[in-house]
């Protein structure tokens, strides 16, 4: 699909054996919304000079399903299932971010066991999100099938845990303001522990596949470099920011929930290129496993729901609150303004993948069109969250 043709500056014009009329002209290509590796219905208008990207314009809105508007006309509890569908890989962390905001708004306390369960589920979510991201990324690079199959094999095990706890594989709708919906049995915890203990085996196998792979290194190192200055000024968060060497993790900065009780390290990158972003996910999974192991040892008995909270006829006091967590993709926040009615007056989502996507052009300029797919994959977007 070609449309506009522009000319380059004469100095940039490459000397090639071509007819003089075509020489140095830019070709505008529309990639998406149906494209095998655009990660959903995302569209990029790319201006190409041969294979080199000279301009890139993202086009959003193909999955805009009015999340925030529906949130304003739905009760506080009614928005919880909608948050599952924001970032549909990580419904548990979405639930937590929303529950955290409402808890801040209405000043609700959460029982100890529920806090532990939340951390266990959030870290399991991080494991399956990062595992499937690596699978998708490698399949974008041309390793069609194999890495994705390994990643999904592990993901299915974690989804089984989610299903036996909440009743749904993907759309868990598990957390409530003031705790969690149901308690996890001892069997469930034992099963989860078993899966977590076996997970490093998969990581070893997977890292062997990626770390020293020559093709992968050629495709990712020095590709899509992001400087720490640009990342900070553009508001990039999550593994993408840490890949540039900026030590910023909301689990450490805010210490929400009971994260300060856990010992874990924050992996940091050095170059901010695609390889660092990729390795960041692999290293973060190891730290998640460390958190999970501590949580399984420490989890106390007790209630999982604050009995004072009436979640059905819920009316928070007038006020506003912003709750944020470190979701697998970055800072996920919910901004709620309450006017005392059963619905929020304003309901705003701060989606990590949308804001991480804003610098896509800076990352892609000067690279080939094949690298665009790899860079986009390493940003880790989910369109449900980008367009909302």
């Amino acid at each position: 699909m070609t449309t506009t043709i522009q000319t380059l500056e004469p100095a940039e014009r490459p000397l090639q054996i071509m007819s003089s009329r075509l020489e140095g002209e830019l070709l505008e290509v529309s990639m998406g919304p149906q494209h095998p590796s655009t990660h959903g219905v995302f569209r990029m208008n790319v201006a190409l000079d041969g294979e080199i990207v000279r301009k890139l314009k993202p086009v959003f809105g193909y999955l805009h399903r009015n999340h925030e508007k529906i949130g304003e006309s739905t009760s506080y509890l009614g928005s919880m299932p909608y948050t599952d569908r924001l970032d549909y890989f990580c419904s548990m962390t979405n639930n937590w971010a929303y529950a955290l905001s409402v808890e801040k708004l209405a000043d609700i306390e959460v029982p100890e066991r529920a806090e532990y369960l939340r951390i266990i589920l959030a870290e399991l979510t991080r494991l399956q999100n990062h595992a499937s991201l690596l699978g998708f990324l490698l399949s974008d690079m041309g390793a069609w099938g194999t890495p994705l199959m390994y990643a999904f094999r592990e993901r299915e095990k974690i989804l089984d845990l989610f299903e036996s706890l909440s009743g749904s594989r993907m759309m868990c709708d598990y957390m409530r303001f003031g705790g969690c919906r149901v308690d996890a049995s001892a069997d469930w915890l034992a099963q989860a522990k078993k899966i977590v203990e076996r997970f490093p085996k998969f990581l070893d196998e997977f890292e062997k596949l990626i770390v020293e792979n020559e093709i992968l290194i050629a495709r990712t190192q020095h590709v899509g470099k992001l400087s720490a200055e640009l990342a900070i000024s553009a508001g990039i968060t999550g593994p993408m920011l840490r890949a540039c060497g900026v030590n910023y993790d909301i689990r450490k900065v805010d210490g929400y929930g009971i994260y300060p009780r856990f010992k874990f390290r924050i992996p940091l990158g050095e170059h901010g290129d695609t390889y660092d972003r990729l390795m960041m996910r692999a290293l973060e999974m190891r730290e998640s496993i460390a958190i999970l192991k501590q949580a399984f040892e420490q989890i106390p008995a007790g209630p999982v729901m604050n009995p004072k909270v009436k979640i059905r006829a819920f009316r928070p006091p007038v006020g506003e609150a912003y709750g944020r967590i470190e979701a697998p993709k970055g800072e996920l926040g919910f901004y709620l303004i309450s006017d005392g009615s059963p619905n929020p007056y304003r309901y705003r989502v701060r989606p990590p993948s949308f804001i991480n996507l804003t610098i896509l052009e800076d990352l892609c300029l000067g690279h080939t069109v094949a690298d665009v797919m790899v860079i986009l994959g390493s940003v880790d977007i989910v369109m449900g969250e980008v367009d909302r």
Binding site: V41, Y62, R65, M149, M170
Partner: protein, 207 residues
């Protein structure tokens, strides 16, 4: 579905002779090599990938060859919420697919708008613009549900006739294989539905 006498067939098979009809052979080949379009919209697309991945493995039914180009695809799995911005592209993709082509409407959103039905930008069902063969309810449907829909589609293909008055629609020259692409009007997509395709159930109200 064959027109061959079953008794005769089993008698011949006992003698080592395998009998079939052109139609049976043709449909057998078609139903076991359905190539879906590699095309996901939202949450259901992840379950579609899970269906194609290691545990559920749609390859057991001959549907693992996901084609990125509509020109090579037989089946469109509309997996996810169809927004008004996306609907024209979906109809265009459907028009670009060669006949015979089939559509599975996966999930509540693709059937009717699902949980996002009240949204101003959500299309209330893709069957307003293109004909749908199999609907799968669920939000999102489990991979098993997609496999079930796939098997239902295989059954449907197996029953299609090559000749006669009730022959398959794609063999009928008068049957349309492309549908008008909706465009943005002043308020909404225009037309709001394709009357040739969209035949909603009439609700009978008792007084």
């Amino acid at each position: 579905m064959s027109d061959i006498d079953e008794g005769l067939r089993s008698e011949l098979q006992r003698q080592g002779i395998w009998v079939t009809s052109m139609q049976e052979l043709y449909n057998w080949g078609r139903k076991n090599s359905i190539w879906p379009l590699q095309f996901g919209l939202a949450c259901c697309a992840i379950e579609m990938i899970a269906t194609a991945a290691s545990r559920y493995d749609i390859a057991r039914f001959g549907g693992e060859v996901f084609r990125p180009s509509p020109r090579q695809a037989d089946l469109m799995i509309v997996a996810g919420t169809v927004t008004k911005k996306m609907a024209p592209q979906i109809v265009r993709l459907y028009n670009q697919m060669p006949d015979p082509k089939y559509v599975i409407s996966m999930g509540a959103c693709a059937i009717s708008g699902g949980p996002f039905k009240q949204g101003y930008n959500v299309l209330k069902g893709i069957d307003r613009y293109i004909p749908v063969d199999v609907y799968i309810p669920g939000c999102p449907p489990r991979p098993e549900a997609l496999l079930h829909a796939f098997m239902e589609l295989q059954r449907k293909i197996d029953e299609q006739k090559l000749t006669g008055a009730s022959k398959a629609a794609h063999l009928d020259r008068t049957h349309p294989s492309e549908f008008p692409v909706p465009a943005f009007g002043t308020h909404d997509l225009e037309p709001a539905a394709n009357a040739d395709v969209f035949r909603p159930m009439k609700i009978q109200r008792t007084q």
